[in-house]
């Protein structure tokens, strides 16, 4: 009983409760939007978005398929947040990584068997890392705000990839990149046998494992390693980090590189999924990169939290497709998802609320803790 109580009072529980709370409020506001746009079918549509991801095994698989790139861009944003930098450049890193993967997937046919796929993933990570490295270096050496340079890198990345696709791996009929070779496709790892309806399997593949493993590695990196110690120190208190001799420039550069590599890997996992998706030559920034921001927010920058947040947002996306059965245009779906995510952003507010309404623990005054609140009160 006491352990349970302590668990309920723990920081992690508070974070979890506030995220759930934020989601519930977001869903309710989403329902209001539905009621306004189409009152007759609002509840049907709401049910679709709530349960759509669970209607059959194929949809469950689709949730995991959509979650894969989201988890990675979420990790990318969350990781850079830990070092105190806002990586809004996940979109550029994502598409650059995607291009690198597809290029390898189409051209490097000399690579045998699974090596083709693995190489494509690694090259994608390197490309993404390069795209994260540039803002990192600009920040460290020239003190350019990472947000500004990342936004610029998004556009440079998008147009450059459009240019490169048309000149190297262009399918001019479809105005998109050529399909990748079968060797480069990420193996299904039996998932297509589990997540299917009849003979129609979902697009889920081994990428989801890679995403989850990436999440666990990032978690360990942040929480258990010396580098993680330095990285969080830089994010929490740059002055004290400097005092302790941490090279914050180096830490920021490396962190941005890792963040870029994660986004790049996300791009690779999406375009190597074998779902027939190719890089379209359009002047639109990859939305997966931006969706990483709310995923990181909802997961409260915690790598494990981000895995679940990514799955949750993917779940809403799949549910949103089902809403179209009830005459909701896709835009409304996007609005609902945005509203829910938007409220997710209020988690800090909810956290504060939950904290202030928790019954005060009325222990005896004891020497050790008397001081606590006094100093917080502005001593």
């Amino acid at each position: 009983m006491n352990t349970l109580k302590r668990y309920l009072n723990s920081e992690g529980m508070e974070s979890f409760a506030s995220s759930v709370f934020a989601i519930i409020i977001g869903l309710l506001v989403g329902l209001v939007v539905l009621l306004i746009s189409n009152p007759q079918q609002a509840f049907e549509g709401f049910k679709a978005i709530l349960l759509g991801g669970l209607t059959d095994m194929k949809n469950v698989g689709q949730v995991l398929y959509f979650a894969t790139p989201l988890i990675l861009t979420g990790l990318s944003v969350g990781f850079s947040n830990k070092v105190g930098q806002f990586n809004i450049g996940a979109s550029g890193q994502f598409i650059v990584g995607a291009y690198a993967a597809v290029y390898v997937g189409v051209k490097w046919t000399f690579l045998p068997g699974p090596l083709h796929c693995i190489t494509a993933l690694i090259v994608a990570m390197l490309a993404g890392a390069l795209w994260g490295l540039i803002p990192g270096i600009l920040c460290a050496i020239c003190h350019v705000n990472v947000v500004i340079s990342c936004i610029m890198m998004n556009y440079i990345g998008m147009y450059m990839v459009n240019f490169l696709v048309t000149h190297t791996i262009f399918d001019s009929l479809k105005n998109q990149s050529l399909p990748i070779k079968a060797n480069a496709v990420i193996p299904k790892m039996g998932l297509d046998n589990i997540f299917k309806v009849g003979n129609s399997p979902s697009s889920v593949n081994g990428g989801i494992f890679i995403a989850v493993i990436a999440g666990i590695i990032i978690y360990i990196l942040i929480e258990k390693t010396k580098f993680g110690f330095e990285l969080k120190a830089c994010g929490l208190n740059p002055d004290a980090s400097k005092y302790s001799g941490i090279d914050s420039n180096r830490t920021i550069v490396i962190s941005m590189m890792i963040a870029g590599a994660l986004s790049g890997l996300g791009g690779a996992l999406l375009y190597l999924a074998g779902s027939g998706k190719s890089i379209e030559v359009v002047d639109v920034l990859a939305p997966e990169g931006f969706n990483g921001i709310p995923v990181a927010l909802l997961g409260q920058n915690n790598a494990i939290g981000i895995i679940f947040a990514g799955i949750f947002v993917a779940y809403l996306t799949v549910g949103g497709f089902n809403m179209q059965l009830y005459n909701f245009v896709p835009q409304i779906t996007d609005i609902i998802i945005s509203v829910i995510i938007y409220f997710g952003a209020f988690f800090l507010l909810f956290k504060e609320f939950i904290r202030s309404h928790k019954p005060a623990y009325s222990g005896n005054v004891n020497d050790e803790v008397t001081a606590q609140k006094e100093s917080a009160g502005g001593n």
Partner: protein, 508 residues
């Protein structure tokens, strides 16, 4: 007997602690009432309750015999309660006059009636002997004058009850004397003063009565005239405290730290923040840099520790040139640094105590292997330090440092820096804002380190500390070292003159 303030049986709980437990405070009209207590004893909480920043969980407040509810500082203001905070709340690039009338500007159709305001401010300043220049900008005036502006702010609002939160922390001895006079003047005009402090001398000098708090409880209220300083400190700490530091004479050893011609440019102005400063520190020696805050001490220490680059000069530790060494390298070659701003530089408040205790050594092989932190070793080491240095916390090494009291935060830094066993310990204001018990402890620690053959460079604004601890005193004024004194042959008054720049000595 009529009391102007009665706080009866105030109880204020926070999760896990009771900051005020059944505290009763009664202040008579026209008295200076001191509130004495260690850090974390509940003084600030009690004043915050009175000033409307916290709502008490139990008890009631009476102002002038009438029971009142104070929901926010505005309510407090309406009831005639004003407060001078420890860190002044002034707009730096406004004039003195503008700061005083800020928020209660007399207006005519939306235009400020400056002349009326000025006349009133000048009248108040004359009446209470608070010398100010109404048109000077806050950033240009001395700390002492800034404090007078804060006092005038209260008077301008017709406050009858004035709370002074550790007002002397930033003043020179001369300014402190001045403030004491002003406080006495205020009460003779019928104001009542609540005076929060750690300093027993000041209580003896001005206060009529004194309420002592300890661990959230009220220990008692005494007439200051009836008790000695020793009795007061015993009430506060709960045990006998040595007010005078016991220090053996030790002969200084070799030069361990040598600074030649160090110059640090000031970003904002053409004047050097530190101007061609040379000095050295021997083994077994505490060298103290005295001076009024803002005369280049911070920049000097930043340059010595590598936080900012030195523009000119040479720094040698143990004969090795470290002028351009990285911070980490300086740390490893034997400099310990207890920084001035413990929350900004010394600690990562959102790390737990264990992590903070290894902030300067997490990378060593004791705590890291193959890039992974060794949790058990870190926390075992932290437990050891917590024990050895008597750091008091709620949850041991897992306590978030943010939730610890200032004194224990400082102890954590001191534990970390001393335990690394540096040859030179640079301690800046190591006892700032701490209570007698903690100060005694820190002073003892510093002297122990000195006796063990370490060199100590102490920067302090507290003259008692300077006089008690140091083997040699360097006085800094406007970026220069203007005096090199032996504490045995000098007086506090003389030191004050050097600090104010009105006297210069021969510096080697």
């Amino acid at each position: 007997m009529d009391y102007v303030i009665e706080m009866c049986n105030i109880t204020k709980k926070f999760p896990g602690i009771i900051a005020n437990d059944d505290v009763t405070l009664q202040v008579k009209k026209g008295e200076i009432h001191a509130i004495l207590g260690e850090n974390g004893a509940g003084k600030s909480t009690l004043m915050s309750v009175l000033f409307g920043m916290y709502q008490p969980d139990g008890g009631k407040i009476k102002i002038g015999g009438r029971e009142v509810e104070i929901n926010d500082p505005n309510d407090a203001n309406h009831l005639g309660i004003g407060m001078v905070h420890q860190h002044f709340k002034l707009v730096q690039n406004f004039t003195v006059l503008e700061n005083i009338i800020l928020g209660v500007e007399p207006t005519n159709k939306g235009f400020i009636k400056r002349d009326d305001a000025r006349a009133r401010v000048l009248k108040l300043s004359e009446k209470y002997g608070l010398k100010i220049d109404p048109d000077a900008l806050i950033e240009d005036i001395t700390v002492g004058m800034q404090q007078r502006v804060e006092i005038l702010k209260m008077l301008y609002r017709n406050n009858e009850i004035l709370i002074f939160d550790e007002p002397t922390a930033v003043l020179t001895p001369q300014e402190i004397e001045e403030l004491m006079k002003i406080m006495k003047g205020l009460v003779s005009e019928g104001k009542s003063i609540l005076f929060i402090t750690h300093k027993l001398n000041e209580i003896k000098a001005v206060a009529d009565r004194c309420t002592v708090l300890r661990k959230g409880k009220c220990v008692g209220t005494v007439n200051v005239a009836d008790v000695t300083k020793e009795e007061l400190s015993e009430m506060m700490v709960g045990r006998r405290v040595d007010l005078v530091v016991d220090k053996k004479d030790v002969k200084p050893g070799n030069v361990i730290f040598d600074v030649q011609g160090l110059t640090v440019k000031n970003k904002a102005s053409s004047k050097n923040a530190v101007n061609n400063v040379s000095f050295n520190v021997h083994r077994n020696e505490i060298v103290c840099i005295a001076g009024v805050d803002g005369n280049g001490q911070s920049e000097l220490v930043y340059a010595l520790t590598g936080l900012i680059p030195a523009n000119k000069g040479k720094i040698e530790l143990n004969g090795k040139d470290i002028t351009n060494a990285s911070i980490r390298k300086r740390t490893l070659s034997g400099i310990g640094h207890i920084p001035e701003d413990r929350q900004r530089y010394g600690l990562i408040l959102d790390y737990d105590l264990g992590y903070n205790l290894v902030l300067q050594s997490y990378f060593s092989q004791h705590f890291t292997s193959h890039g992974m932190l060794k949790y058990n070793d870190i926390y075992n080491y932290a437990d050891e330090l917590i024990d050895k240095f008597d750091i008091r916390t709620g949850q041991g090494a897992k306590t978030m440092v943010r939730s610890m009291s200032g004194g224990n935060q400082q102890k954590a830094i001191i534990a970390r820096e001393i335990d690394r066993d540096p040859d030179l310990l640079i301690a800046v204001q190591p006892t700032r804002g701490l209570d007698v018990g903690a100060i005694e402890y820190i002073h003892k620690r510093l002297i122990d380190e000195r006796d063990e053959g370490k060199g100590i460079l102490l920067v302090s604004f507290e003259l008692d500390e300077v006089m008690n601890l140091s083997d040699r005193i360097l006085v800094m004024y406007e970026g220069n070292i203007v005096a090199d004194l032996n504490p045995k042959d000098t007086t506090v008054q003389e030191l004050g003159l050097y600090m104010a720049g009105s006297k210069r000595g021969n510096v080697a």
